[in-house]
């Protein structure tokens, strides 16, 4: 077990009190992660279905894998949803994404900046984290999370879903509360 992806979900109420948490190994780096990796390692292009649902492919390109996200962006970075469909190797988007906003069923997406990898003992950890605020006026139950990254095909820019997980326990986020998702990519020598 030399390369693992872990996620952590923490739900807080409006006062910052932790209501629930889940910490487990991610079930799924998806096929798209490896398709982009292949395009870079082999310095070539390959087919890849973007989050739009269209196969626009992937080619070696500078922006590929970028999942640093600005506030209010829901097309890139860590994303969350309410879907429960089992993970498949060819998933190209979340089952039912929670969009940016403050309307019913929406959450505010905060900024997300991947941290510098850190080495401790024989591990090298690469952490990225994002918090989502629920100002929708009602409770929202989060059941899936994932990572969308930038990708470029031979002709078109787009986004690719490279990680998706269905949470073991649905996480109910109360109005005024938040959920924070951490993903840690760990390699161990």
């Amino acid at each position: 077990m030399k390369r693992q992806l872990w996620y952590k979900a923490i739900v807080r109420d409006r006062n910052g009190k932790v209501l629930s948490r889940e910490n487990r190994r991610s079930r799924s780096i998806l096929g798209n992660w490896y398709r982009i990796l292949y395009a870079h390692m082999a310095f070539t292009s390959t087919s890849l279905i973007h989050t739009s649902g269209v196969d626009r492919g992937a080619i070696y390109f500078g922006d590929n894998w970028k999942f640093k996200a600005d506030a209010n962006e829901d097309s890139i970075g860590i994303v969350i949803g309410t879907g429960i469909a089992a993970v498949s190797i060819d998933d190209y988007k979340l089952d039912s994404q929670i969009l940016q906003g403050t309307s019913s069923g929406q959450m505010r997406h905060l900024v997300s900046t991947p941290g510098w990898p850190s080495v401790a003992g024989s591990n090298c950890d690469f952490l990225t984290s994002r918090t989502f605020l629920n100002n929708s006026g009602g409770s929202i139950t989060v059941r899936e999370s994932g990572i969308y990254c930038r990708v470029k095909g031979p002709t078109y820019y787009g986004y690719a879903c490279i990680v998706r997980d269905v949470l073991a326990t649905p996480q109910a986020v109360p109005d005024g509360g938040s959920i924070t998702i951490d993903y840690t990519l760990r390699i161990t020598a």
Partner: protein, 214 residues
Amino acid sequence: MMKKQDKRTERIAIEADRSLEPSLSYKVEVTDKDGRVVQLEEGPSHSYVRQWNEILHLQAAAIYIGGGGTVKMTNGSIEGNAYYSVRSFDSNAGIGIDRSGLRVGKDSTPVSINDYALGSPITEGAGFEQLEHQLTYFTSPVVAGSTLSFTMQRSFVNHSGATISGIQEIGNYIEFTGSMTGKVALGFRDVLGSPFIIPDGGAITVTYTLKVIA
């Protein structure tokens, strides 16, 4: 309530550990001058090293020129201006190129997360203790059931005039971009279970399979 949930998620995590893994494995094969296989080893790879995550970070965080990206190169020096680029993880080395792509060497020091090069890499050529580096060959990603995989392969031919023995390490040198293009870092390294011997006229072929299961 939280304790109950933590117990449950811990159990689920243990179960997940048993079943799902982005994996890297290798196969090393020596053939004699007539193409007969004379030595073979297959196994799980033991090691991505830190540069793999560091280069991924350059891409994921979109580290610009001057953004302070640091990656240790295979020559032991630090590239302090590494940034996200079209050329990252590039392992597509051509014939006769020994600065990047798959490499073999003679060192048996256990892998460390801080490794930045093979311990004793074999250089390109037909001279004493040298091997001729062939093209790095990739197969396209293939999905079979819930698995996606692709492979990279490279052969090294011994035209040195003598047997080369003691090949005990393999790894991949990946190109990334720093103050100039064409910087090279170690991506993964493995120490083989036993030393490999390549007869004169023979070859050693290294195949890595990168696989992920959903």
